[in-house]
Amino acid sequence: MSKQPKNLNLFSIRLPLPALVSILHRLSGVLLFLLMPFLTWAFYSSISSGVNFNKTVLILNTWPVQIIKLFFIWALIHHLMAGLRHLLLDLQIGNDLIVARFSSKTVLIISFLLTAIVVYLV
């Protein structure tokens, strides 16, 4: 098995946009799952008492946590948008190459813009 020749040079292939959206969908899903303990902690810590609520808000506003929050918000929005695109593809909507490229570009741009808006507002 290991003697099989490998003709596929991954560095010579440009990743198509729909493939990029797809792998980012998977990546954001894993990221959301791995960051979920932070959300669980923030939830029960903030709801347990008034003192803990203020402590939680203080911790959530420190800069390392803000970077984690940034990734979490991006992952959530991208996973949501790419997921909706996949649901449409399941309904046979947007299967043509041109439409698929356009929708994947739209997903990338919208998730980036929405992340910027949410970060600016909150």
Binding site: V30, F33, P37, T40, Y44, F53, L84, L87, D90
Partner: protein
């Protein structure tokens, strides 16, 4: 430990259907919560507590977390199956992730039902 249950709790087609319907439920939940939270001040403790005073918000959030972790569990099984070739290691990793899910669900249930 039942190996089959950890590796493949149900068939591929069933997983596919569950993944889509849980996704739709979560989209609806996020939209409803987004609208509710915009009409409610949650930036201080009193507002935050009163938001979760509503029976519907509590119940919806509890169901959301169960549905979300179910969705995540199916996703995690697929991801580990793709990248971890060794069966024993994969089973151990899956088991750790399952424990993580159960632990978080216990905490969330405790605070949301109380």
């Amino acid at each position: 430990m039942n190996i089959k249950w950890i590796k493949e709790p149900f068939g591929g087609m069933t997983q596919w259907v569950y993944q889509r319907f849980t996704a739709l439920f979560m989209v609806v939940y996020l939209l409803v919560m987004g609208i509710l939270i915009l009409n409610h001040s949650v930036f201080d403790y009193a507002g935050w507590i009163s938001f979760f005073d509503s029976w519907l918000v509590r119940f919806g959030t509890l169901i959301f977390f169960y549905v979300m972790f179910f969705h995540a569990w199916i996703g995690i099984l697929h991801v580990t199956e793709d990248y971890i070739k060794n069966f024993t290691i994969r089973r151990a990793v899956n088991f750790c992730f399952l424990m993580m899910i159960i632990y978080q669900l216990l905490i969330l249930s405790f605070y949301l039902i109380k």
